[in-house]
C-alpha cells in the first residue's frame, strides 16, 4: 500500500487546556474534532519544560541528559552526538520533509538552520511577520504602542497586516497543494507560535472569554512546603511593559488578582486563535482528499503555569508545565477511512455557539513521554522502528530512548477493515 503521509502539528507552550482534555471553559472545537478521530493520550509529559531542550529531545528521541542541551546554546550534533531526527529518518526513507514555523527552536540549538539539510528536503519556512512579535505593536489603554504581555491586536493594524501563525497556515496549505501531486509521501511539520508569550492574537478572540467568567488558578499561592529551588520566578513575563508597570516583587510576586485573570483570559484567547489555524489546516487536508492517507499528530513542547503555585511560565517540573496534549489520527486505525466526499475535519468556528460538543475519540490513560514520538511515528508509518539505545548512546546515530506506543493502537477492528495487528 502507498506510504502514509505525516502531518506533525506542534503548538508552542500549549498545556492541555482544551475541550478534549476536559477543559469546560476553553473553546477548541477544531482540535477537539481532531481528537474525536484520534487516539488521545491523557497523561503525556515533556522531558524538560523549556522550548529548545524539549524540542531537541523529542525530535531526536533522546533524553536531555543525552542531547546535553539544558539551555539554548549548543547544537547536539557538535556537542553530544550526531543523533538522527524524526524528519531526517523519514527523509532517509523516501519522504519529502518540510518545516513550517517553529519546529526546531531557532538559533544555536538547531545550528541556525532548523537542522537543514539533515532534517529537511527544503529550507525551513519562517513567517516574515515573526520579527514584529516582541516589538511595540500592542495598543495600550493610553492609545500608545507597547511591547506588552497582553497583546490583543487589530490584525489590520499590525505590520504586514498579518500574524505569524496565519502565515504559517497559508504556507502549510500551499505545501499540501504541491505535495498532493507528488509521487513521494510527505512529512510536513507545522509549528505554531501561540500561545507562547507575548499573547498577541486577533482581539476578537477576547470576546470568547469575558473577564467575569475567568477565575484564578485553583491553587494560586506558592505552596508552603515547596523547596525554593523548585520554584520558577517567571522572569520572562516581568520584562514585558505591562507587567513591569505592576512593580511586582521578586521572586514571589504576587501578580494582582485582576491581572492574573487577564493573563488567563489572554492565554485562553490565544488557544482559541491557534485552534482556528489548526482548523483551517485540517479542512484543507480534507479538501485535498489527503485525510485518508495522512497520519496527523498534534502535540506541544511543554505546558505553562497559569498562576498555579504562584507561577506564570514553564521552567519547572510541575505537572502543569510538563504535561502536554498528544493525539494521533491514523486513517483506518483510529477512525474509519472517510467515504468518498466525506469530510472528517470540516472547519468549525469557535464563535459558533451552536457547535455540538465532540464525541471523544480513543483514549489512553497510561503515562507516556514525548520521547515516544519518534518510535511511534516510525511504526505508524510502516518504517522500521529504531532500536532501543544502549547506555550511553552518544556514539549511536540512530536509536531511541522512548517507548514505542504502537501497542496502544490495537483497537477492536474498525468495521470493514482487516483485523488490526500490533
Amino acid at each position: 500500500a502507498d506510504a502514509l503521509n505525516v502531518l506533525l502539528i506542534i503548538v508552542d507552550d500549549l498545556r492541555p487546556s482544551l475541550g478534549c482534555y476536559g477543559d469546560k471553559l476553553v473553546r477548541s472545537p477544531n482540535i477537539d474534532q481532531l481528537a474525536s478521530h484520534s487516539l488521545l493520550f491523557q497523561n503525556a509529559f515533556a522531558q524538560q519544560a523549556v522550548c529548545a531542550p524539549s524540542r531537541v529531545s523529542f525530535l531526536t528521541g533522546r533524553r536531555p541528559d543525552t542531547t546535553r542541551l539544558y539551555d539554548f546554546s549548543s547544537y547536539w550534533r557538535v556537542h553530544a552526538g550526531n543523533f538522527s531526527t524524526i524528519p531526517q529518518y523519514f527523509k532517509e526513507n523516501g519522504y519529502v520533509t518540510l518545516s513550517v514555523g517553529k519546529v526546531f527552536h531557532p538559533g544555536v540549538s538547531s545550528n541556525h538552520s532548523d537542522d537543514s539539510p539533515y532534517s529537511w528536503s527544503l529550507p525551513a519556512y519562517h513567517p516574515s511577520s515573526e520579527k514584529y512579535e516582541n516589538t511595540k505593536t500592542c495598543r495600550g489603554p493610553d492609545g500608545e504602542l507597547h511591547a506588552n504581555l497582553l497583546c490583543p491586536v487589530d490584525v489590520a493594524d499590525v505590520p504586514e497586516g498579518t500574524l505569524p501563525d496565519k502565515q504559517s497556515t497559508e504556507q502549510a496549505i500551499r505545501l499540501l497543494e504541491k505535495m498532493k501531486t507528488s509521487a513521494s509521501p510527505f512529512f510536513l511539520a507545522v509549528g505554531y507560535h501561540k500561545p507562547h508569550i507575548p499573547f498577541r492574537y486577533p482581539k476578537e478572540f477576547q470576546k470568547l472569554y469575558p473577564l467575569e467568567n475567568i477565575t484564578l488558578a485553583p491553587d494560586p499561592q506558592v505552596p508552603a512546603g515547596l523547596p525554593p529551588v523548585a520554584y520558577s520566578p517567571w522572569m520572562d513575563i516581568r520584562q514585558r511593559e505591562d507587567v513591569q508597570a505592576l512593580n511586582l516583587s521578586v521572586p514571589y510576586g504576587p501578580v494582582p488578582a485582576d491581572f492574573q485573570r487577564k493573563i488567563r483570559q489572554s492565554y485562553f484567547a490565544s488557544v482559541s486563535y491557534v485552534d482556528t489555524q489548526v482548523g483551517q489546516l485540517l479542512s484543507a487536508l480534507d479538501e485535498l482528499q489527503l485525510a485518508s492517507s495522512t497520519v496527523v499528530v498534534l502535540t506541544s513542547d511543554h505546558g505553562w503555569a497559569l498562576g498555579e503555585h504562584g507561577e506564570w511560565a514553564k521552567y519547572s517540573n510541575f505537572d502543569v508545565t510538563t504535561r502536554v496534549p498528544l493525539m494521533f489520527y491514523v486513517p483506518g486505525r483510529t477512525a474509519p477511512l472517510p467515504e468518498a466526499g466525506e469530510k472528517l475535519f470540516p472547519y468549525i468556528d469557535p464563535f459558533d455557539s451552536a457547535s455540538e460538543p465532540m464525541e471523544p475519540g480513543q483514549q489512553a490513560m497510561d503515562l507516556v513521554e514525548l520521547l515516544s514520538l519518534f518510535p511511534t511515528l516510525a511504526g505508524l508509518a510502516g518504517l522500521r522502528v529504531p532500536p532501543r539505545c544502549p547506555i550511553p548512546s552518544f556514539h549511536v546515530q540512530l536509536c531511541r530512548e522512548g517507548q514505542n506506543l504502537l501497542k496502544h493502537f490495537q483497537f477492536r477492528a474498525v468495521e470493514g477493515d482487516p483485523p488490526v495487528h500490533a
Binding site: Y70, V229, A230, P233, D319
Partner: protein, 95 residues
C-alpha cells in the same frame, strides 16, 4: 501493569534559591538538576548537585525533594517529601 509506566522529566537550576537566571540558566551556571519520576500514583522529584563540566548528577548530594500523591493531592500543593524521609508518612497517603 500501569504502575510500571513511568515518565521522567528534569529541570536545571543555578542556585538553591530563586534568582534572575533560575528559569533559564546557561549550561556553565547549572549547579543543581531536578529529576522527576512520574507514575500513575505519585510524582517524586529530587534536586541534586550537577556538574556542567562532566554532565554528571550527584545523587548523594540532595538539595531538596518533592513528593506528591496524585489521588490525594492532584494539584501538587502538599509536598510530603520530608515526611516520607522520616518514615512518618501517614498510611492514607501511601500509593
Amino acid at each position: 501493569n500501569p504502575r510500571e509506566l513511568v515518565a521522567y522529566s528534569q529541570y536545571p537550576r543555578p542556585a538553591d534559591s530563586p534568582q534572575w537566571n533560575s528559569d533559564k540558566p546557561s549550561l556553565k551556571d547549572i549547579k543543581i538538576m531536578g529529576y522527576s519520576i512520574r507514575t500513575i500514583d505519585y510524582r517524586y522529584t529530587v534536586w541534586v548537585g550537577f556538574s556542567p563540566q562532566e554532565f554528571l548528577a550527584n545523587f548523594s548530594d540532595i538539595h531538596a525533594g518533592e513528593l506528591y500523591f496524585v489521588d490525594s493531592d492532584p494539584l501538587q500543593d502538599h509536598n510530603v517529601y520530608n515526611d516520607s524521609q522520616g518514615g512518618a508518612l501517614p498510611w492514607s497517603l501511601m500509593p
